[in-house]
Amino acid sequence: MGRRVWGAVTENISELVERFKEGDEQAFNKLVRLFEKKIYAHAYQMLGNHTEADEVLQETFVRLVKNISRLKSDSNFPSFIFKIATNYCIDIIRKRQRKFVNVEESETEESGWYLLELSRSIPTPAEEQENRQLLDLINAAIAELPPKQRATIVLHDVDGYSKEEIAQMMDCPQATVRSNLHIARSKVKKKLKDILDE
């Protein structure tokens, strides 16, 4: 998705980034509008709840302002901003693991927030129910993965980024991305075995 989606607007993004670097607040505002939904969706895919996805969304743009001077090439802006968001998501997952908090379950059950869905679902009640069960299984399988494997599988298999882009975002060699993806896929496939065999 990275290249497919950004390709057409890369030139425009580079121009906005250049203006933002010069201190143009309007350009920053436009960049926020351009990326806010993608960042939110990515954070939600990683963390599975609105509260933390909201925190990631805000913090990503605050950190972007502080660290924009570190961006070497303006055309790398999408990878750069997703790198900030992914790193913050990984920090949150690690913090959560240390505190033994399962926010995903508590939020979805208690507050009624349920923002994940399966696309292309046919809105008949029976299929809706089936989709919900499948989604719960996928969510549970992804939620059990360690932070970096979770980030890799979401970025590659859901968001559609290439291994090269993921390696850039996660500051690691492509071989590590491949290995993380292979392990993560094996674990998720094991959990979804019954569904996938059908």
């Binding site: 920053f28 505002n29 926020v32 969706a41 609105h50 302002v65 298999d157 896929r185 998720v188 979804l192």
Partner: protein
Amino acid sequence: MQEREMNETQEKLLDLGPGDLERTTPQALRAELVDAGVSPAAAALEINYLRQVSRRRVKLPPETYFADTRRKILARVDIHPRSFWDRISSILLPTYWKPIPATAAALVIAIAILTPMMYHHAPTRIVDLPALESAGPYVSMTEVYAEHVTAVDQPVLSAEELREYADILLMSTAILGSPSSLSRSRSLAGSPN
């Protein structure tokens, strides 16, 4: 040989992404993989997995939420046009220093440049020429010393006082027991023992 083939198959499967599902039908994709040497079962499993996982989508909150978040973000950041100092600091300071505010960077640079200059100009600022002239001609330290310090001809202490002083020193040395004190007290008392 067999292991290498398995690795190659695995690599091909790993290269599959949601983009491939959008590009073509699952059947066509399966045929492509089988042609590339992947077993039909492995290809079907991988395509089915990807189809299910990539369907996971986030239902976004309403637009009012994003508008509110934008306001919160703008309240937390300070964006201003780049100053001269911002540009200088971006050239001079290493990357890991860049997050520090531009004013602090400007201050560091100003101190680094001005301190040696101030040190260099210090003598010309401190020297007060009229005061130097009023002090009269140059007199060397030796001459000043010779003028004001005279040798003491007479001993300061009498023989009786020296003996008493020696006794006190010897007694204190005996109490404290320090050899260095003993030798010093003997030399002061003028005694060879």
